[in-house]
Symmetry: C2
């Protein structure tokens, strides 16, 4: 049988399994695997791995075991339900190259449900798109990796390299799920992360940092508001100053992001303050997410943020003596540029060309993905490559169904070539 | 016995009961009678009334019964624990003038407890002050009314007019507790409200209005923050515009507030927005408390507020098509100027002069009190007159103990003269 025949068989096998793949993707999207609630969705993945005869490794993330590893992000929540699951294909002999297919199971909150056209955890297919929270980011991609593996098997082949399908938690807030896979010893010659990259290859991603600013006020009866200090309004000039730092960081630029007009985004994403409508508020806390270019040092970034907050506070007569606190909880993620891995990149380009009939474009992420762990801390070229998605983190998040099929086909061809196959 | 003798006996009776009065005030301050949690403190008042042989009327506020009365404020919470208590002295014959002594049992939240020197609901006496949330605003005053009545009795006199000691809820948010007393039919020739007026007579108070502004955003992944609309930051220009309206209202001025530099205060007192640190926030709600001069029409004020919000929103490309909602919940309180009631005012001045040895000063409140209900809607001159307090609604709220004694003495003399007494 020629190589072209093999490819045709594998592509057809993806098609043959595709209805089931979309059904499984929808079922997985139905799981409301919000932070701290991923366990049932992970059980579903563990069952799917077991059904395929893969070795199943399901473990609770042990914060103490990863706390001192590079890439760790501090957490303020309990990990008592933070389960990772890995399905492993371990061929006899294993003469081929190994591969990690990594995806995350956690999804971000829906926001007000009434702003969705249909309920966020009731997946709906319309006009060629699958709607639902987490369908695009990134259950479709996670499932695509597994069904790509299935297709190779269904086509009658046994991959000759180790394959680890990793379903991890915590991607949306820390990356500690992927980090825990490194800590547990998983290692391969390359990794694919099918985040919704619009069927392009993720060539670079920014770093991301989360922090909270805790601001105090001096509460008085509102009748004498002038003599108090309003903790809510005291946040505004601090936020303004942080936006100035954002512009400064954007100006520093980075070659990989030259095409982006505004790659660095500082976003005030949560705020809460005050207890009583007739009291000048005594406290306010806002959460900010900032991004940074690859190569920027996290400790230096933290210093700049803290100085910016302190300088803004010094201009306020009350805050000058009650300086705000900056608290880090969540992402302390460095930027990452895909470097090395010429071989797997070239192979993915060929597979993509075969399926899509056009060359594989590159893109850069102004967000982060778990790719950084493999690339920065495990010397494993990590390629972000996944389907087309819209409004992730927004309302009516959706993923394009045809793009899922094609990405699955590309990955299936990649598996067959990278790992090598023999007739099963 | 001369009138001066009677006064001396009454003043001494206040002194004799004063240790017990402060003990009771501290015990009442120990009750955390926050909104919705006043019932146990009200039971304590009901027991105290019963112990004195007063008629006790304890009832749950019926929103439907007061909803259409002037002065009603809309509520968004349940009244299932909103109990009012009135202790009534009903002398045989009742030839004297009648009196309402009205105080509120509800207290505002403490804010972060660690910002208090000692726990807010563990009353503490130091340097002549009683510390604790609600001690000043206004349990000391509420209790002073009851102990003033006691002192008259202990001095051997029976007041000859009806006296209603009203312990009401909801003063800090709506005034619906006092309104429910009107609705239930309580009525007298004058009223004293021992709010912490620094031993002065409250001659005027502003109106107060609460509202929320609900702002929407367009959530996107923070990586593309520029294409979303940040609901939190969208609040800032709206708040700025409302502060401009505040300055405009201040400029309109009012004779009774001529001595205040800035009588009208608009305060952003609560804010909450956003769900997830890596999503552009889809929603934010802030609470504002505004004040207005006596004579300003509430409906017109609401129109001006809504126009201000709408105009500010129109400048935002997203909000122009998703205008914020203004929701009223809580105070819709008109301003009030003490008018009429020359006789009770003159009497209170004389009683105060006797106790303090100096004339009764007047003050104006840049907040509201329940006095407005009696004055505006029941044709009853309502005099705010109570002890000296500091940091009400703040940390380490405290009330001056000597000022409690003296105010109690003034009110006791007032009761004896206003209602008339005969030897018991």
């Amino acid at each position: 049988m020629t190589e072209a025949d093999a490819a045709r068989r594998i592509l057809k096998a993806v098609d043959d399994g595709f209805d089931d793949q979309i059904r499984f993707t929808a079922d997985l999207t139905r799981q409301p695997s919000l932070r701290g609630q991923e366990a049932a969705a992970q059980d579903m993945m563990a069952r799917a791995f077991r059904d395929r005869g893969l070795g199943v490794d399901r473990w609770l993330i042990d914060v103490e075991a990863i706390r001192n590893l590079p890439g760790f992000s501090p957490v303020m929540v309990s990990y008592e339900n933070a389960w990772n699951v890995v399905g492993a294909w371990r061929p006899q002999g294993a003469r081929g190259r190994s591969l990690i297919l990594n995806g995350h199971i956690d999804v971000v909150p829906t926001g007000p449900a009434d702003m969705w056209t249909s309920p966020p955890f009731e997946p709906r297919i319309a006009d060629g798109w699958l709607y639902g929270r987490g369908g695009g980011d990134m259950k479709a991609g996670l499932v695509a990796g597994m069904y790509a593996f299935d297709a190779v098997r269904r086509a009658g082949y046994a991959p000759q390299g180790d394959i680890y399908i990793q379903s991890v938690v915590e991607e949306e807030c820390t990356g500690n799920g992927a980090l825990a896979c490194l800590q547990r010893g998983y290692k391969a010659d390359t990794a694919i992360i099918p985040e919704p990259s619009q069927c392009k290859l993720g060539a670079a991603q920014v770093g991301v940092m989360w922090f909270q600013v805790h601001v105090q006020g001096r509460p008085v009866h509102v009748a004498r508001a002038g003599s108090g200090s309003n903790a809510i309004e005291a946040c505004f000039p601090i936020i303004r100053a942080l936006h100035e730092l954002e512009e400064d960081w954007n100006k520093r630029g980075h070659a990989a992001f030259a095409e982006h007009k505004h790659p660095i985004n500082f976003v005030v994403s949560k705020i809460q303050g005050g207890d009583w409508t007739s009291s000048v508020p005594a406290w306010c806390v806002f959460d900010m997410r900032v991004s940074l270019f690859p190569g920027m040092d996290l400790a230096q970034c933290r210093r700049e943020i803290e100085e910016t907050v302190a300088n803004a506070a010094r201009k306020d007569s009350f805050l000058a003596n009650s300086p705000p606190r900056v608290v880090y909880h969540g992402f302390q993620a460095e930027g990452y540029v895909l470097e090395g891995g010429a071989e797997p990149q070239a192979l993915l380009e060929r597979c993509h060309q075969t399926v899509f009939g056009q060359k594989l474009d590159r893109m850069t992420f102004t967000g982060t993905t778990d790719a950084r762990f493999f690339g920065l801390y495990a010397d494993t070229p990590a390629m972000v490559y996944g389907p087309e998605s819209e409004d992730i983190h927004g309302f009516d998040e959706r993923v394009n169904i045809e793009s899922i099929r094609r990405v699955t086909q590309s990955i299936a061809l990649f598996i067959a070539d990278w790992c090598g196959v023999k007739a099963a």
